[in-house]
């Protein structure tokens, strides 16, 4: 899995390619926790994400909560049909802000 991060003030734009499995989710979790505390806007591009596991969903939920605590927001962009189905069937499509 590849993660590309760009920070611009309070906004972090991240592009995730590959699969967010149980083994690779800690990598995303680590990347997010290493961001400066000033970052409160999380812009995640999921166009290259092939699959997200339950562990990956936990990381996204935790990131959403982090953004909420910091008074910011998280947006997930361009998920594939499969990834969006996963959000939809787990009820997270109503929790996350998703741009298709």
């Amino acid at each position: 899995m590849n993660i590309t991060t760009t920070i611009d003030g309070a906004k972090a734009a991240m592009s995730i390619d590959g699969k967010l499995t149980v083994a690779t989710s800690p990598e995303l979790e680590g990347e997010i926790s290493s961001l400066p505390e000033a970052v409160k806007e999380f812009d995640l591009d999921l166009a290259g994400l092939d699959y997200i596991s339950s562990a990956g969903l936990r990381v996204l939920v935790a990131t959403q909560k982090l953004a909420d605590r910091r008074g910011g927001s998280m947006i997930l962009r361009h998920p594939s049909d499969e990834v969006y189905d996963i959000f939809d069937m787990t009820g997270l499509a109503d929790v996350f802000t998703i741009e298709r």
Binding site: A23, P26, S54, A55, L57, V61, D85, I86, T90, G91
Partner: protein, 530 residues
């Protein structure tokens, strides 16, 4: 598939391997994608929960297999009792995860093992399998019914079988009108802009009408033995210009509601094209209406899908009705037109299939297999409407036609693309004229060709739709209405073949039109080469 047991470690790599194993197993079933994802996520979640409780490196067993045709997944972890469904510390979404993911795992604690089991839904029977089962059932019941006294059989036929059939067909026709209207309107709106509409519309409508014209031409050539140019009794007909003008003008509705009340599909299509183009042209001003129309479209297609679940019952009822009413027997007296129609239909369809295969670079075998379910459904029910949902799915999912072309092209094709109907009408009219020792001038034959072309398009896509048109067509050509008896008998047999052939031709034309517009995604085809 035999049951497989795999030992896994409850660490990150082990859980991922288990998840992949579950995905591979479910890929070999016929479960829909969402059910497969649900099962995979549920297994992952359960394994993660066990890992969190029992610790990294704990051993577990993954069991996958089938039980009574249903895919079944099981996890076994040795240790103290721990039910992943009853966790205390997780977030709201995690607490409800196992319910919202769509599958309800069961838990048992036996012999020191925590066992989570998921029984996936049984893969649905394919449309063809259902249709074949329904035909078999219909034949068996019909044959059993032939042993009943005739009075009892007729009573059952007129009191139960035919009313059931008429009611179901009426329901199909009732939903078909709004469904066609909404599908065309939403299809046009989905195109995006007026320039794209012009391009798509021209490609589709042009191809479909050209298909019908080709079919009429081929039917004329094959029916040469029936021609009696100016020989015998000359057909008396109404004013040819008035007849044709009337036909063309009747395409345009004079009342917004009458086309739906009368089930006049062609007028519904005209209305839907007008409304769709208007909504598209007005853009943002009709944003709310566009949204409402899309939602209504989803609703009506859902209703049609539910109605189509009853199709096997319709097939049983039709088989019984046609066997008990003796319709099949009367047709063998008209073997020559049946032979001509059959040969022309087969030749025409074969040419279409080969042309589509070569032009769009899809193998003939793939085309035949893909079109088969929809063709069978339409053939058995004599109703392209019944195959509507299957055709949508075939075009979009199996053949890679994009959404806009599918939404716009399928309902349009259901009404416009009827080469088999055109062939049937042409041969039947020519045969009827010959049967009454009638001939005509070149103009009369030209009127016959144009009339058959227009009536083929005007016929509503439901079983028996043509019966309503035959009387008008015979009168307009000056052929005695006594011909109705044979015409009706031919129609009752061949209506089924027509419907099936029309659906196959529709699919070919949609694929060809999409290919010409660059809207055919070969990579999206199931079984296609990536």
């Amino acid at each position: 598939m035999a049951t497989q047991i795999t030992d896994i470690m409850l660490d990150a790599e082990g859980i991922d391997r288990a998840s992949e194993a579950v995905a591979d197993f479910l890929d070999g079933t016929q479960l829909d994608r969402r059910s497969q994802l649900s099962a995979r996520l549920t297994i992952e979640y359960a394994l993660l929960s066990f890992r969190d409780h029992f610790g990294d490196g704990t051993k577990a067993e993954l069991v996958v297999g089938n039980r009574l045709g249903k895919p079944r997944l099981m996890i076994k972890v040795r240790g103290d009792r721990f039910d992943p469904r009853e966790q205390g510390n997780e977030t709201d979404w995690e607490r409800t995860f196992m319910q919202t993911a769509g599958l309800r795992p069961s838990f048992a604690y036996t012999g020191g093992y925590n066992i989570i089991s998921i029984s996936c839904p049984r893969p649905p029977l394919g449309s063809t399998a259902k249709a074949c089962a329904a035909i078999t059932c219909g034949v068996v019941l019909a044959q059993a019914g032939l042993r009943l006294p005739e009075a009892t059989r007729m009573s059952l036929l007129n009191g139960l079988v035919n009313p059931l059939f008429d009611t179901y067909v009426g329901m199909l026709a009732g939903v078909a009108g709004p469904m066609v209207f909404l599908s065309v309107v939403c299809g046009i709106c989905g195109i995006g802009d007026m320039a794209a509409l012009g391009r798509s519309g021209r490609a589709l409508i042009g191809r479909q009408m050209l298909t019908n014209v080709s079919a009429v031409a081929l039917a004329f050539v094959a029916s040469f033995p029936f021609f009696r140019l100016g020989v015998g009794k000359v057909a008396e007909m109404g004013d040819p210009i008035s007849s044709i003008t009337g036909l063309l003008l009747d395409l345009f509705p004079t009342n917004l509601f009458k086309p739906f009340m009368e089930g006049n599909t062609l007028q519904i299509i005209m209305l839907s094209i007008a409304v769709g183009v208007a909504v598209l042209a007005l853009g943002d001003l009709t944003e709310g209406i566009r949204k409402a129309l899309n939602q209504l479209n989803v609703l009506i297609q859902f209703l049609m899908e539910q109605l189509c679940r009853l199709l096997p019952l319709l097939i049983v009822v039709m088989t019984i009705s046609q066997t008990w009413s003796g319709t099949l027997g009367a047709l063998f007296q008209s073997w020559l037109p049946i032979l001509v129609i059959g040969v022309v239909m087969v030749v025409f369809l074969a040419a279409q299939l080969i042309f589509t295969s070569v032009t769009c670079k899809i193998s003939l075998r793939e085309l035949l297999i893909t079109c088969f379910p929809a063709t069978v459904i339409a053939c058995i029910t004599a109703s392209p409407s019944a195959a509507f949902g299957t055709v949508l799915s075939i075009c979009k999912d199996d053949l890679g036609v994009d959404d806009e072309q599918t939404s716009f092209g399928v309902p349009l094709g259901m009404v416009l693309c009827k080469p088999m109907t055109a062939i049937l009408l042409t041969v039947v009219m020519l045969y009827s004229a010959r049967a009454y020792n009638m001939g005509g001038s070149v103009l009369w034959y030209a009127q016959l060709a144009i009339s058959c072309l227009l009536y083929a398009v005007a016929v509503p896509p439901v079983p028996g739709g043509m019966l309503a048109c035959y009387g008008m067509l015979l009168a307009s050509l000056g052929i005695p209405t006594g011909a109705l008896a044979v015409v009706t008998a031919l129609d009752l047999l061949l209506d089924n073949l027509c419907a099936g052939g029309n659906v196959a031709a529709q699919i070919m034309q949609i694929v060809l039109a999409a290919d010409s517009l660059g809207a055919l995604d070969h990579n999206a085809r199931k079984g296609g080469e990536a």
